[in-house]
């Protein structure tokens, strides 16, 4: 996300606060794809759209309390992470088995669907077990498709530090997969 986009986001937020509800639609369109991809990476396909919409409804509701201390995109990522955590908390409370609907697995045509389903569950479980910092760098690179230099810019770290963090994150993920 560039500084220019951040400035435009701020402008849209101000317009929304001034009563222009179309400004939020613009924010929605601008950030929908990245929120959707982030959610889809960690949540079963059947619930992706619901959770994505919940993120934006929560954003709409609490945009008044957004102080602009971080970029809007960063704030939205935090909100998305909270909604994902809430989703899994609710599932655990209901005692639902960590199932992935069959069509979710079949969507990927290669290989054995049930094997892919198992793999998907295992990877998501491992992702949920690594530290927030590790999970975040994996999500930024894989789910949101940011390049390493973009991640460095976003997080205020240098490129080497981001690559090192990424390698350690993958290593931690692998350790959890092996358990």
């Amino acid at each position: 996300m560039t500084a220019q986009t951040a400035a435009s986001d701020e402008l849209l937020i101000q317009q929304f606060r001034d009563g222009n509800s179309n400004a939020f639609n613009e924010l929605y369109q601008r950030h929908l794809s990245s929120v959707y991809r982030r959610v889809r990476f960690v949540i079963p396909e059947a619930d992706v759209e619901d959770v994505t919409q919940e993120v934006f409804l929560a954003a709409l509701k609490s945009l008044g309390s957004f102080r602009g201390e971080a970029q809007f995109g960063t704030w939205l990522r935090t909100l998305t992470n909270h909604k994902v955590a809430e989703y899994y908390r609710k599932r655990n409370r209901k005692g639902e088995a960590p199932q992935v609907p069959l069509f979710d697995a079949v969507a990927r045509t290669e290989g054995n669907p049930s094997k892919i389903m198992e793999e998907r569950i295992a990877l998501r479980k491992a992702l949920s077990q690594i530290s927030d910092q590790y999970r975040e760098v994996i999500l930024l690179r894989f789910a949101e498709g940011l390049q390493f230099n973009e991640i460095a810019e976003l997080t205020g770290q240098n490129l080497e530090a981001v690559k090192s963090l990424f390698r350690r994150a993958i290593s931690a993920l692998r350790n959890h997969l092996d358990k």
């Binding site: 606060r17 009563g19 709409l60 008044g64 990877l123 690179r141």
Partner: protein
């Protein structure tokens, strides 16, 4: 900046894994890099698994449009699209502020004649009387107070 194949091979495992990830995500490779380092090969395997198993492609146009329409309807039914909660709270605060200002001003204007008439009979001929000054100070103070309240978040 797109990560491309380095001209000279790098020794740093961080760079090697990052380059491998870039190639995998760009669809330029579907096989493990021929690394002699077992640990690095293991990490590359994990990268391949992440790429193959978890969905990470951008949604298509039709999905985006459907989501947009659905969101508009959800926001409307939640009664938030036209007037968010924080906005109505702000409107209420403004109303209370305006009402307070009116009450104070009315009280001051009603009070001025009483203050002036009660001031006695023989007063100085030039300048403002003390009561008038008091009233002006009260008005000024009220205005300053209201401005301050209005700017408070």
């Amino acid at each position: 900046m797109k990560m491309t194949e380095p001209k000279q091979p790098t020794k740093n495992p961080d760079d090697l894994l990052a380059d491998f990830t870039d190639r995998v995500l760009d669809g330029k490779t579907a096989v493990l890099a021929s690394s002699a380092d077992d640990e690095l090969r293991g990490l590359e395997e994990t990268i391949m698994r992440l790429n193959q198993v978890l969905p990470h492609k951008a949604p298509d146009e039709a999905t985006l449009k459907r989501l947009q329409a659905d969101f508009t309807s959800r926001a409307r039914s939640a009664g938030r699209s036209s007037r968010p909660v924080w906005q109505s709270r702000q409107s209420r605060q403004r109303l209370i502020l305006a009402f307070t200002a009116i009450v104070i001003l009315v009280a001051i204007f009603i009070g001025i004649p009483f203050l002036l008439s009660g001031s006695g009979n023989i007063q100085a001929t030039a300048g403002l009387q003390p009561q008038s000054i008091l009233a002006l100070v009260a008005i000024g103070g009220t205005v300053v107070l209201l401005i301050w309240l209005g700017h408070r978040k």
